[in-house]
């Protein structure tokens, strides 16, 4: 290991810093530069030229399985894909009128949204750097639209703080303008008093003051924050003799004690950045396009029970829709089942590989779609898409639809909670979940509860064939178990979001598939 850069910044803290500001790509680039030998991230499918005359059994038709099957077949392999459900897509899923779901231990649920309305209960947004996902949208002709992932005019509803801004909706633009304005003003005051002179090289100080003035909308002469049009007006400017009535900033102490500032960041986290997309018409559009393209090689309602192998090949035992047991054999297997599910499969692999499969946690995740009679958030509040932030972790956030703008009805994502909070909300009946979500939204919008018509909720940890939202690697698991699962066990290759550093995103599944099938192909051609 190269210790040369250990002083004064340790390599790890350097990499963590990169992770914080630049995300995965930058970390990997950095690790590569530091000699870890980690691959750069792929932006396009691997080129699988050469021999391909083998039969591959692909398990699971989420985006990882679909990508594997699509690319392997294109390269000339004989591919068969088994899928447990009566649809393709896995977690890439859309609930619309008629969609049925029964959670383990739950009541049967049939979605009764109006025709044309839907919710994406799983993945729902695609940042611009998810090159693989967007590649397949282009290739398979799946149109996308913008997903609004931040909205200046949305509300923050925080109830754990104190003071006049706690337990009431506050516009995000007001919190942002005032908090950052005051912070810039205070910093400018320190700079002007000479308190930071030692930090500046000649010429820096004036430029830094210019920056603070720009950042915080400070007054020209004396660097004060007295409000700014961007925080909104008491009366908006209009025609004729209506210049607008400026609004008054909140008190800094009230902002601080409300804790609403924790929604502010200098820049969105890497995974949350605009531009974001969503497929037009629902997240299931891409898997559906893959499915149409793959045709008869996809076998729905084939539940994998057993995966065995010899040094000659792999055999997968399944149960079909009629309850009949059968098996398919191939030279290799690409298994994209979530590890939470794979644990329950009779799997013939080495003990170390099996332990590694058990070494990861899966996130408990809950969401609910609420069909609203009318789009009151647009009509009465001028909020078009984006999120209402809560500090009640049972709610997490309310998310307003980025589709059907200015229409009559819409489906709102009513909560998005994780872990212990998801355990708690998922214990509620379907009707109780809807009532809980309606009451949460009512705290922000007076029109909320009366407009709820019907709902579709999901608790991913209770969904058969998923048993969790996404893999959650601990530091120890990432170090010990993860590398083992990246290598094949005999003739069995694993792929999925769980084997990526883009965990919980479809992109992770796609790029993991690319990476694993490239390894497989290399072996076939060795």
């Amino acid at each position: 290991m190269n210790e040369a850069i250990a002083q004064p910044l340790s390599r790890r803290s350097f990499l963590e810093g990169l992770g914080g500001v630049g995300g995965t790509g930058l970390v990997l680039a950095g690790m590569s530069a530091l000699g870890f030998g980690i691959e750069a991230r792929a932006a396009a499918p691997p080129v699988l030229s050469g021999r391909a005359g083998k039969r591959i059994v692909v398990l699971g038709s989420g985006v990882a399985g679909l990508t594997s099957a699509y690319e392997l077949r294109k390269a000339g392999y004989d591919v068969v894909l088994l899928e447990a459900r009566n649809r393709v897509g896995g977690r890439s899923y859309t609930a619309r009128r008629g969609t049925q779901l029964t959670e383990l231990g739950g009541e049967p649920q049939t979605c009764s949204f109006d025709e044309g309305l839907y919710i994406n209960p799983g993945p729902w947004r695609i940042p611009y750097h998810h090159y693989g996902y967007l590649h397949y949208c282009r290739t398979l002709g799946v149109p996308v639209e913008l997903f609004n992932n931040d909205n200046d005019h949305s509300y923050i509803y925080y109830e754990k703080g104190s003071g006049p801004l706690a337990r009431r909706p506050v516009r995000k633009q007001e919190v942002a303008a005032d908090t950052r304005g005051y912070a810039a003003e205070m910093l400018a005051k320190q700079v002007n008093q000479g308190a930071l002179d030692q930090a500046f090289s000649p010429g820096d100080k004036e430029l830094f003051l210019d920056y603070l003035k720009s950042e915080g909308y400070l007054t020209d002469k004396d660097f004060r924050y007295i409000g700014t049009p961007g925080r909104g007006y008491d009366t908006d400017p209009g025609a004729g003799l209506q210049p607008g009535v400026p609004s008054t900033p909140y008190a800094m102490s009230d902002l601080l004690h409300s804790h609403t500032w924790d929604t502010l960041k200098s820049v969105s986290d890497f995974d949350q950045q605009r531009t974001m997309f969503q497929p037009l018409g629902g997240m299931d559009r891409l898997p559906a396009a893959f499915g149409r393209d793959l045709g008869p090689i996809v076998h729905l309602q084939h539940v994998v029970e057993k995966i065995s192998q010899t040094d000659q090949g792999v055999t997968v035992g399944y149960v079909d829709a009629q309850g009949q047991r059968g098996s398919v054999s191939g030279d290799y297997c690409v298994c994209t089942l979530p590890l939470s599910v794979l644990r329950g499969v009779d799997l013939q692999v080495s003990p170390g590989f099996k332990d590694a499969i058990g070494g990861v946690s899966y996130a408990l995740v809950g969401k609910i779609g609420l069909q609203m009679k009318r789009r009151f958030w647009e009509e009465d509040h001028a909020i078009y898409g984006g999120h209402i932030y809560f500090d009640d972790a049972d709610v997490g956030s309310i998310n307003l639809p980025s589709t059907g703008w200015l229409g009559k009805k819409g489906v709102v994502l009513g909560y998005y909670q994780f872990f212990a909070n998801a355990a708690k909300i998922s214990a509620l009946s379907l009707a109780e979940r809807q009532a809980f979500a309606a009451a949460a939204g009512q705290k922000v919008f007076p029109q909320y509860a009366e407009n709820v018509e019907t709902s579709f909720s999901i608790a991913w940890h209770r969904v058969p064939y998923n048993l969790g939202g996404w893999a959650q690697w601990s530091d120890d698991g990432r170090r010990d178990a993860y590398p083992k699962l990246l290598e094949p066990d005999g003739r069995i290759y694993l792929a999925g979001e769980h084997l990526s550093y883009i965990g919980g995103w479809q992109e992770g599944g796609i790029e993991s598939a690319w990476s694993q099938i490239a390894k497989l192909h290399k072996r076939v051609n060795a």
């Binding site: 995300g23 109830e159 804790h259 899966y362 994780f418 872990f419 212990a420 708690k424 965990g503 919980g504």
Partner: protein, 140 residues
């Protein structure tokens, strides 16, 4: 959230979480005392089911199972830190609530094991390394 940046985010979140806990202590009214059965129904039953029988192949049974009736420390540690598909309850349940719900699990459905005291939970909480990310503002 990409898990590569999870460590960085986790540091921010842990800092944020402690602030939130302080704020909650100032603002929230004292919690109502819930029975073990209520705590179980609220926090555990979605997976382990009200019967304690779990769902075969997905969620382990607690009724008649040796682990929850075994030595208390591993059981308390599991609730605090989570494992596999089970979340950490460290931030959501206090020592008394964890003791109460575990005592319930150890005596319900024909289970029979000594009660667990809040002091025991406090001791394990203090010594066990926290191996769980707090919640992000936005995840995926």
């Amino acid at each position: 959230m990409s898990k590569s940046s999870a460590r960085y985010v986790m540091r921010l979140l842990v800092a944020g979480a402690s602030l939130a806990v302080v704020a909650q202590a100032q603002a929230a009214p004292p919690p109502t005392e819930l029975s073990g059965a209520s705590l179980f129904a609220q926090n555990c039953s979605a997976c382990h089911q009200l019967t304690g029988k779990g769902v075969p192949g997905a969620f382990p049974a607690l009724a008649g199972d040796a682990f929850p009736q075994g030595p208390p420390e591993p059981v308390v540690r599991l609730l605090l830190n989570g494992r596999g598909g089970m979340p950490s309850f460290r931030a959501d349940l206090d020592d008394r609530q964890i003791a109460t719900v575990l005592t319930y699990v150890r005596s319900a459905w024909g289970n029979h094991a000594p009660r667990i005291e809040p002091a025991m939970v406090a001791r394990v909480r203090g010594s066990a390394a926290q191996d769980h990310a707090a919640q992000a503002l936005q995840a995926h």
